[in-house]
Amino acid sequence: MITTLPVLAWALHITIGMVTLAALLNVYRLIKGPDAPDRVLALDTLYINAIALIILLGITLETRLYMESALLIAVMGFVGTVALAKYLKRGSVIE
C-alpha cells in the first residue's frame, strides 16, 4: 500500500471488511435457504461480492492483473445462475 494519506488505506480496509461481512451474510442465507431459489440467489450475490473483493484485492496490490478475473466471475456467475434457475424450473438445462 503506497498511499500518501491513511484515509484511503482505511477506506480500503473498511470496504474490504464490509464486503467480507456481506459475503458472510450471503453464505448464511445460502445455508439457511429455506428454498432452492433462495440459495441460488445467495450464490449469485456471492459471485457479485467476489467481484468486488477481486477488485479491492487489485487495488490493495496495486495491480490490474486480476481485472479479467473479475470480468470472468461476472460472466460465469450469470451463466451459472441462469443454468441453476433453468434447472429449477425446467429440469433440463439444455433442451
Binding site: 498511499t3 500518501t4 494519506l5 484515509v7 484511503l8 482505511w10 477506506a11 480500503l12 473498511i14 470496504t15 474490504i16 471488511g17 464490509m18 464486503v19 461481512l21 456481506a22 459475503a23 458472510l24 451474510l25 450471503n26 448464511y28 442465507r29 429455506p34 428454498d35 432452492a36 431459489p37 433462495d38 441460488v40 440467489l41 445467495a42 449469485d44 450475490t45 457479485i48 461480492n49 467481484i51 468486488a52 477488485i55 479491492l56 487489485g58 487495488i59 496495486e62 490490474r64 481485472m67 473479475a70 470480468l71 461476472a74 460472466v75 450469470f78 445462475t81 441462469v82 434457475a85 433453468k86 429449477l88 424450473k89
Partner: protein
C-alpha cells in the same frame, strides 16, 4: 496523489462497500424470497458499481493512461442482474415458495 482524489476514491469505495452490505443484509433479513430478491438486484449491483468506479479512479490517477476496463464489468452486471432476478423469480413461482402474509396479489403459475 491529490488528497481530493483520495477522499473521492475513499468515498466511492465506502459507498460501494455500504451498498454491498445493505444488499446482503436485505438478503439475510427480508421475510420472503420475493422481497429478498430486491436487495441483490439493486443494492449489491450498485455497490459493486461504486467500487468499480473507485478502482477506475484509483488506477487512472496512479498509473499513466486511462484504466476503464472495470466499466465493462459494471455495465455487464447492470445488464444481467434483472435477467437473473427474472428467471429466479420464475423459478420461485414455479416451486411456489412461501410469501409473507402481508403480500397482496398473486404470482402466476408457471
Amino acid at each position: 496523489m491529490q488528497p481530493v482524489y483520495q477522499y473521492f476514491i475513499a468515498a466511492l469505495l465506502l459507498i460501494g462497500g455500504f451498498f454491498s452490505l445493505v444488499g446482503a443484509i436485505g438478503l439475510a433479513r427480508l421475510p420472503d424470497f420475493f422481497t429478498r430478491l430486491h436487495g441483490p438486484t439493486k443494492a449489491t449491483t450498485l455497490g459493486v458499481g461504486a467500487i468499480m468506479l473507485g478502482s477506475v479512479a484509483y488506477f487512472t490517477v496512479r498509473s499513466p493512461g486511462i484504466n476503464i476496463a472495470e466499466i465493462l464489468i459494471t455495465v455487464f452486471l447492470f445488464l444481467t442482474a434483472p435477467v437473473s432476478a427474472n428467471i429466479l423469480a420464475k423459478a420461485a413461482m414455479h416451486i411456489g415458495v412461501d410469501r409473507t402474509p402481508e403480500t397482496r396479489g398473486k404470482p402466476w403459475d408457471q
